[in-house]
């Protein structure tokens, strides 16, 4: 039982990070229909930027975080701008284009930071706490807290502010929203900045948990991406649930069968997709004849 709870708690930390990645992916998708395979590598770039500012330049963690968010925001904005002509044309081409960007970002990271990566210390003293026999570290709590706060803020922004509502309207019906006076272009840009900010936040938080290196995108980003799809493409609560599920599957698979944990995770994911393509919270869209 203790083992079960301990694994559960362990899975929640990474699950929260996956959920952040998934949310960034989802908000971009639902606002503009861009399926951004490069998101995984934007997370990695965010992690590197935060690590550089925090470890190498000795800036406070919060400053590093903000710096990473600003730069990745600009990056996301540029990706959208270049691929915009494909948005209305061909989803598969756009998908391949974002994969192209992912490859470029990964190699750019190797060029700038080398292929070895950076070990990041935790920004707060990482003390293991014993809660009824289950070990929880303070940094794990910080990750959970910051993730939860970010998710709550995003929810409040989308649901309770005028700008957020306008963005949702733009997502549902572009032309109707334009007719109501919503600036769809700026709403897209906003979505991208928020999406990339989520990526940078996830990258910065995961740095001390893993080891920041150019293949981070493959391991964190792809799972976050898969989590978004598992939860329901474009759904914010879906992203959170999907992320947590991924964290938990991984944690439970890691113990007894560590060599097969990735295989198990993705086979479970593939099966889940076959049972319900639209994910947990997704809506079924009908291909109209």
């Amino acid at each position: 039982m203790i083992y079960f709870v301990q694994t559960l708690v362990g899975g929640l930390g990474m699950g929260a990070v996956y959920a952040l990645v998934a949310m960034g992916f989802s908000i971009v998708y639902r606002t503009m229909g861009l399926v951004n395979f490069a998101h995984a590598d934007v997370v990695m770039i965010g992690a590197f930027l935060a690590a550089t500012l925090f470890v190498t330049m000795h800036l406070p963690f919060v400053v590093a975080l903000v710096g990473a968010i600003v730069v990745t925001g600009a990056l996301g904005f540029a990706i959208e701008r270049i691929l915009r002509p494909l948005e209305s044309k061909d989803l598969n081409l756009m998908l391949l284009g974002t994969i192209g960007f992912g490859i470029m970002l990964q190699s750019a990271a190797i060029l700038v930071w080398g292929s070895f990566g950076i070990a990041v210390p935790t920004p707060i003293p990482n003390i293991p706490l014993d809660v009824g026999g289950v070990i929880v570290t303070t940094y794990q709590l910080l990750v959970l807290g910051v993730s939860a706060a970010a998710m709550f803020m995003l929810y409040v922004f989308l649901d309770r502010t005028k700008l957020g509502t306008a963005m949702q309207a733009a997502a549902m019906d572009r032309s109707a929203a334009t007719a109501m006076g919503v600036n769809v272009a700026s709403s897209n840009a906003m979505a991208f900045v928020i999406g990339s900010a989520m990526a940078a936040l996830a990258g910065a938080l995961v740095g001390p948990l893993l080891y920041v290196n150019p293949t981070l995108g493959v391991y964190v980003g792809i799972k976050g991406f898969a989590a978004a799809i598992l939860g329901g493409f474009g759904s914010i609560p879906g992203a959170i649930i999907g992320g947590l599920i991924f964290g938990l599957i991984e944690a439970f698979a890691a113990g007894p069968l560590s060599a097969y944990s990735e295989l198990l995770t993705f086979v479970v994911f593939a099966l889940a997709m076959m049972v319900r393509q639209t994910g947990i919270f997704g809506e079924r869209t009908v291909d109209r004849a």
């Binding site: 399926v35 395979f37 270049i82 691929l83 002509p85 494909l86 061909d90 989803l91 598969n92 081409l93 756009m94 998908l95 391949l96 284009g97 994969i99 192209g100 960007f101 992912g102 490859i103 470029m104 970002l105 990964q106 190699s107 750019a108 190797i110 060029l111 292929s115 493959v218 391991y219 792809i222 991406f225 898969a226 799809i229 493409f233 560590s258 060599a259 097969y260 944990s261 990735e262 295989l263 995770t265 993705f266 086979v267 994911f269 593939a270 997709m273 076959m274 393509q277 009908v286 291909d287 109209r288 004849a289």
Partner: protein, 599 residues
């Protein structure tokens, strides 16, 4: 007089002569290029032709290599036996990756296959069976009497032979029925299944072909390098393959080969600056999809069109026997085609909370043109979707020619003789006009593709017959001048005409037309009327949904009127137009009185 191309034989001769002028290192690079070309051709088949976003192609390559390496080292199998087993094993792996593709497509399939590929890499580097990160070494070489396959010079010929076979087979597939069905499915899934293509089967086949060639390349790699390790088959290689296929041109076999030649050559010229290479091919992918989505092959084709360049060929004095295509199978006097063509009984269709069809019954008599009219959203198109098998009905029955066909899938309805067009035009956009018609003319069941292996000449013969018949149909419907044009480049009116021609090519006994006059000008509408009458006179029963009243009143013998998912009236045009319920549905409550009074 026919012309025989000499481009391909010339390439083969050059390929075979190459080792005489190359030093041993360059031969090694050439082997690598050929192996990658084989894998890339596989990716082109599954992704470019069949439209399946497969990001696990590098894993297929790896599966073949690892299976062969494991069987020959750990289990001590004979290398050739192991090679065959490894290729079979790779096909099984490909089939496993294909299973999700039956349900999910596009980006969903992309992330699922990418996930499985990541899982495969992680399995290779973590499992003890595969030797972990250090891989498997001392893989024995293949052997053949008289050859030293441990040496690159002799091995080159083995790989060249494999490349020639794979490229030849891929070109054969690409230019005949299987490739055309792949492209039709890629361009429009609904229209493809309404043309009789069983989508599931073709998705699986595409993956298995990709696995087959990936496995062959993997085996050849393992016995040449004599060593396999996880990073040879990781995501980096997957992206390299993707770049080859996209830069070369996704739906082009030659494009994939060209991509492999360019990128492997560049990679070997630029060793030591690996990150820059990766940056460059990432950039090339982005540039290609944004500016030249059809890649080098597309650019080459445009050039050829613009300057009218022929393929290199020599004329030889030999006349090919002219083919007299068989007539269409319909005989208007056939006793089976009498009485009631289509009977709908108490049909209903519910979508979440919406009753789109509510107890609909109607009867279409053999040989008539039957109109279905009604306000927007009254369930007309839903009716067509249920009849043609795109939706399963929630209740009720559909019968054609007195046979119950309720709930049959779309491809089977096409094979049973029900063809349709779509309200918002669903052509195979990137196929030529001729190919669009040939897809529908092709009535062979999927299992007939076994001929690709056992009787390829039959495939070629059928192809010639089909082409002749398609040209004849294009002639009949005044589209022959644009036979080789890409469908999407046609004017709107001609696209509509092509869609009807395509539906007719499926040799239906019942043709469903969904708003065929939408967007046509007056002259085109007259042409359409004549066309529909001609189709009916050829023995086909026509059901047409239309908003254009003058057209409906003019050509239809009987009408069925829909409102709110129900049939509110049926009868001859004159009966229907004086029906109070119809006038009310169109003009609103209370309108009936004054309108009749005014008449």
């Amino acid at each position: 007089m026919i012309r025989i191309g000499f481009g391909k034989p010339l390439l083969v001769v050059l390929l075979l002569l190459l080792p005489f002028v190359l030093d041993s290192y360059t031969i090694h690079v050439a082997i690598l290029i050929m192996l990658f070309a084989i894998v890339a051709v596989g990716l082109s088949l599954v992704m470019g032709f069949a439209g399946q976003v497969n990001l696990a192609q590098a894993a297929f390559f790896g599966a073949g290599a690892y299976a062969s390496a494991l069987l020959t080292t750990t289990y001590g199998w004979n290398p050739w036996l192991a090679a065959v087993a490894a290729v079979v094993a790779t096909c099984v792996v490909a089939l496993a990756v294909a299973v999700p593709a039956l349900r999910v497509q596009s980006h969903y399939l992309g992330i699922v296959s990418l996930g499985l590929a990541v899982a495969f890499s992680s399995l290779l580097s973590n499992s003890d069976v595969t030797g972990g990160a250090s891989g498997i070494s001392q893989v024995p070489p293949l052997s053949l009497p008289g050859l030293n396959l441990g040496e690159n010079h002799d091995y080159y010929y083995l790989v060249a032979l494999a490349l020639i076979l794979v490229v030849g087979f891929a070109l054969f597939v690409a230019n005949t029925t299987l490739g055309r069905r792949f492209k039709a499915m890629r361009d429009d899934v609904l229209a493809a299944s309404a043309s009789g293509i069983e989508i599931r089967y073709y998705r699986l086949t595409a993956f298995v072909l990709a696995g087959l060639v990936g496995g062959v390349a993997g085996v050849l790699y393992a016995h040449n390098a004599r060593y396999v390790s996880p990073d040879t088959f990781g995501l980096g290689v997957m992206f390299l393959l993707l770049a080859m296929v996209i830069i070369g041109g996704q739906d082009s076999v030659w494009g994939a080969v060209t991509g492999a030649v360019l990128l492997i050559t560049a990679r070997n010229l630029l060793t030591g600056v690996q990150a820059f290479q990766q940056l460059a091919y990432g950039g090339l992918i982005v540039g290609t999809v944004v500016f030249a989505p059809r890649g080098l092959a597309g650019a080459a084709m445009d050039l050829r069109r613009r300057f009218d360049l022929p393929w290199p060929s020599i004329p030889i004095p030999w006349t090919r026997r002219r083919l007299a295509p068989p007539p269409l199978v319909l005989d208007p006097a056939d006793p089976a085609l009498e009485g009631v063509a289509l009977r709908i009984d108490n049909l209903s269709k519910r979508f979440k909370g919406v009753q789109a069809l509510d107890g609909v019954s109607l009867e279409v008599r053999a040989g008539e043109i039957h109109g279905v009219i009604g306000p927007n959203g009254s369930g007309k198109t839903t009716l067509f979707n249920v009849i043609s098998g795109i939706y399963r009905p929630s209740g009720g029955r559909v019968a054609i020619w007195r046979h119950d066909v309720t709930g049959q899938p779309s491809f089977r309805m096409s094979r049973l003789g029900v063809a349709r067009t779509f309200q918002n035009l669903r052509l195979f956009r990137q196929l030529t006009v001729l190919e669009n018609v040939m897809v529908a003319l092709d009535r062979d069941p999927a299992r007939a593709h076994i001929r690709y292996f056992i009787a390829p000449w039959v495939v070629l013969h059928k192809e010639r017959v089909r082409r002749a018949r398609a040209l004849e149909m294009l002639e009949e419907f005044d589209l022959v001048d644009v036979a080789d044009e890409i469908a999407v480049n046609l004017s709107y009116g001609r696209q509509r005409r092509l869609e009807i021609t395509r539906a007719l090519a499926a040799q239906p006994t019942i043709l469903l037309l969904d708003e065929p006059a939408a967007g046509l000008n007056a002259a085109e509408q007259e042409g359409l009327k004549a066309m529909i009458r001609r189709i009916r006179d050829g023995g086909v029963t026509v059901v047409v949904i239309e908003h254009n009243m003058s057209l409906v009143m003019n050509i239809c013998q009987r009408l069925t009127v829909f409102a709110h998912g129900k049939v509110i009236a049926a009868g001859t045009p004159s009966e229907v137009s004086s029906d109070a319920a119809v006038i009310e549905a169109y003009l609103g409550r209370g309108a009936a009185e004054p309108v009749t009074a005014a008449l």
